[in-house]
């Protein structure tokens, strides 16, 4: 899996370089590839919109992934309009049908349309991907900033806490939380948020440690800027590129965790549709009607890959910007 990703990343990098070379060559500034790359990206006005445009132009895979993600989000939001059937409507006469024109992905053991359930399931799976990631990263960022900036005892306490969190297998920890609090969406949010902040905290802390030694922080102090303002207005924005990338990498892992929790029967509860839950329900029919498990698995895979590619692409765009300093 790791090898596969490394290979894919390498490939997307190559593609990006090609794209740059072509784009820059057109502007007749050949000769110094590295400089051009940065100046193309950091030219006169490098707003966020411009960076996004660069991303779209240079990394087709990331651009495509972004499109996929947007489409998925739209499908999830407008699920009742998009889905061909009601995802809860049972029809026992139509149970376990093969994929057909009427039911593109067949029906499950209660005669529910699998495609509709996947579309509705996107609501849960994507929410679970986004909300706990946002919460855990907010917690992690604040704690990491404090640890890195204040150092000393604050640092020690926060980072040892993070070590403890990282020492446990996160799924096990989430299971413990879920067992004590019971199933349900809100509890999944809480469990995943509690489990995942430590990684973010570590990254933000290490960045803060190096950023707070930079002279611009000293300069900010020398014009009388207060500590909290320095932390949140001067240091945090410099961590943003890595945080954005981390965000896109954390979403898939949250979706996978939810799938695992549902698979283990302590995540989303039936009859609500979640991709993880659908995989586990289809497990019984894996040999006779494999699409019941495969279809939601493919949905998970597409989302995870899309976010990974987007993360890679974002890193490529944001990295030279970091190197510039």
């Amino acid at each position: 899996m790791t090898d596969e990703r490394a290979r894919l990343t390498g490939k997307s990098r190559e593609k990006k370089k090609e794209a740059t070379a072509v784009g820059v060559g057109g502007m007749a500034r050949a000769g110094m590839p590295d400089r051009e790359e940065t100046s193309a990206q950091l030219g006169e006005s490098d707003t966020w919109a411009d960076k996004l445009r660069t991303l779209m132009r240079q990394n087709k895979m990331a651009a495509f992934s972004a499109l996929v993600i947007v489409l998925m989000l739209l499908a999830a939001v407008y699920a009742p309009l998009v889905a061909p059937y009601d995802h809860l409507a049972q029809s026992l006469t139509d149970r376990l049908q093969d994929p057909s024109m009427a039911h593109w992905l067949g029906t499950d053991e209660l005669g529910r349309d699998v495609l509709s359930r996947i579309i509705f399931g996107a609501r849960i799976s994507l929410t679970v991907g986004l909300v706990p990631t946002l919460i855990s990263m907010t917690i992690g960022t604040i704690l990491g900033l404090c640890a890195g900036f204040y150092g000393g005892k604050t640092d020690f306490i926060i980072m040892r806490l993070a070590d403890v969190m990282l020492a446990f297998p996160s799924l096990l920890l989430a299971m413990v939380v879920m067992y004590t609090m019971g199933g349900g969406l809100i509890n999944i949010f809480i469990a995943l948020s509690l489990v995942n902040w430590a990684g973010t905290a570590r990254i933000v802390r290490s960045q803060t440690l190096s950023l707070k030694e930079k002279e611009f922080v000293e300069a900010a102090r020398s014009i009388g800027v207060k500590k909290w303002t320095i932390m949140f207005r001067h240091i945090l924005p410099n961590c943003l590129p890595s945080l954005i990338v981390l965000f896109t990498l954390n979403i898939p892992s949250a979706i996978l965790s939810e799938a695992s929790l549902s698979f283990l029967g302590i995540g989303a509860q039936p009859p609500s549709a979640s991709w993880g839950l659908m995989v586990v329900r289809g497990k019984k029919y894996l040999f006779s009607e494999p699409w019941l498990s495969i279809a939601p698995s493919v949905a998970i895979m597409i989302v995870v890959l899309a976010f990974n590619f987007l993360g890679d692409g974002l890193r490529d765009v944001l990295d030279p910007y970091l190197k510039e300093q």
Binding site: E215, G224, E324
Partner: protein, 334 residues
């Protein structure tokens, strides 16, 4: 005389508390800055120049700490201010320019916004007024097309322009004192001259005093009114610039001036002061320069010299030298 000083550093001592022991980085430094004048602090690396500046700004960080002395800014003792009081003083009454213009601006904000922040922190003005002031100061520090540069990010500006922005940021609240910590070390010589001229001009126009930290004697001769020569955390010689260059009195100052290459003299090798700066943890018992001094006598190794008056007949200001040779002139410090 003393009351007139805009910044009066009295017997400042800043120590670093390291695992190996207490390091006296600044060891009883007294510096007087008259209004509207440029005071130079020179000395080789590690002699405590920057640490003196940081102490004055209250920017010393763990494990460093000011352990003694007073810093009197405009008649007010700022040595023991709380953090909140200090942040009102910093940037408003005293400000600082750093050595590296490459890293002293925040890469994620347009430079105009950063200068604007300094105004908004200290003065009750609307954002638009602050913006106008930024454009004015950009004009004053010689940044072409201020309107356009206001929205530039630091990495889009050259080193010289960035240093101009830093100067603008330091000057925008019209502080009484500006500390410039080797402001031109990272710039090339042409830009250096421009920046120095700019600082001198602003100093004259706005009546701001400048403490210029440098190790470049040429820069000192060019712009400074008074010079303090530091060595191992102590002031070795202090004088009006002309007097110092005319009559360098301390053996260390003499050595420093001798080691500057001269265009009109042919020399096989440059003069160097033998040895290195002593480890501040294990300073000699007597004069801290005695191990490298070519005029050292027995007494220099056992007794610490004070600052003595070494004024010549034609000098108007006092000329202090920390060397026993001038003991007859009378003691200047305690």
């Amino acid at each position: 005389m003393r009351e007139a000083m805009v910044l009066d550093i009295r017997n400042l001592r800043s120590h670093f508390f390291t695992a190996k022991g207490e390091v006296p980085a600044v060891d009883g430094v007294s510096i007087q800055v008259p209004p509207g004048k440029i005071v130079g602090i020179v000395g080789e690396s590690g002699c405590g120049k920057s640490m003196t500046a940081m102490s004055v700004m209250g920017l010393l960080r763990y494990p460093g700490r000011v352990v003694g002395g007073n810093i009197i800014l405009n008649g007010r003792d700022i040595t023991h201010l709380t953090r909140k009081e200090l942040s009102q003083v910093r940037g408003n009454e005293i400000s600082m320019i750093f050595q590296e213009p490459m890293t002293s601006l925040n890469p994620v904000y347009p430079v105009g916004k950063q200068v604007q922040e300094a105004i908004l922190l200290h003065q009750k003005v609307t954002k638009n007024e602050a913006r106008e002031r930024v454009l004015d100061i950009f004009q004053a520090v010689g940044i072409p097309e201020p309107e356009k540069r206001y929205y530039s990010y630091p990495h889009q500006l050259s080193g010289g322009l960035r240093q101009r922005v830093m100067i603008g940021m330091a000057m925008v609240c019209r502080p009484k004192v500006m500390i410039a910590d080797e402001p031109t070390t990272a710039l090339d010589v042409t830009i250096e001259a421009q920046i120095l001229r700019l600082m001198k001009k602003l100093c004259e126009e706005q009546g701001t005093s400048i403490i210029l930290i440098t190790h470049n004697m040429g820069v000192v001769a060019e712009v400074c009114d008074y010079v303090y020569v530091m060595y191992a955390g102590k002031v070795m010689e202090q004088a009006e610039t002309f007097a110092l260059f005319e009559h360098p009195s301390h053996p260390y100052t003499q050595g420093l001036l001798k080691s500057i290459p001269k265009l009109d003299e042919k020399a096989e090798r440059l003069y160097t002061i033998e040895g290195v700066v002593p480890n501040l943890l294990h300073l000699p018992k007597g004069c801290s320069f005695c191990t490298r001094c070519d005029q050292a006598q027995e007494r220099c190794f056992v007794e610490k010299p004070c600052l003595y008056e070494a004024k010549n007949d034609h000098e108007t200001d006092s000329h202090g030298v920390r060397c026993f040779q001038y003991e007859s002139g009378g003691q200047l410090d305690e």
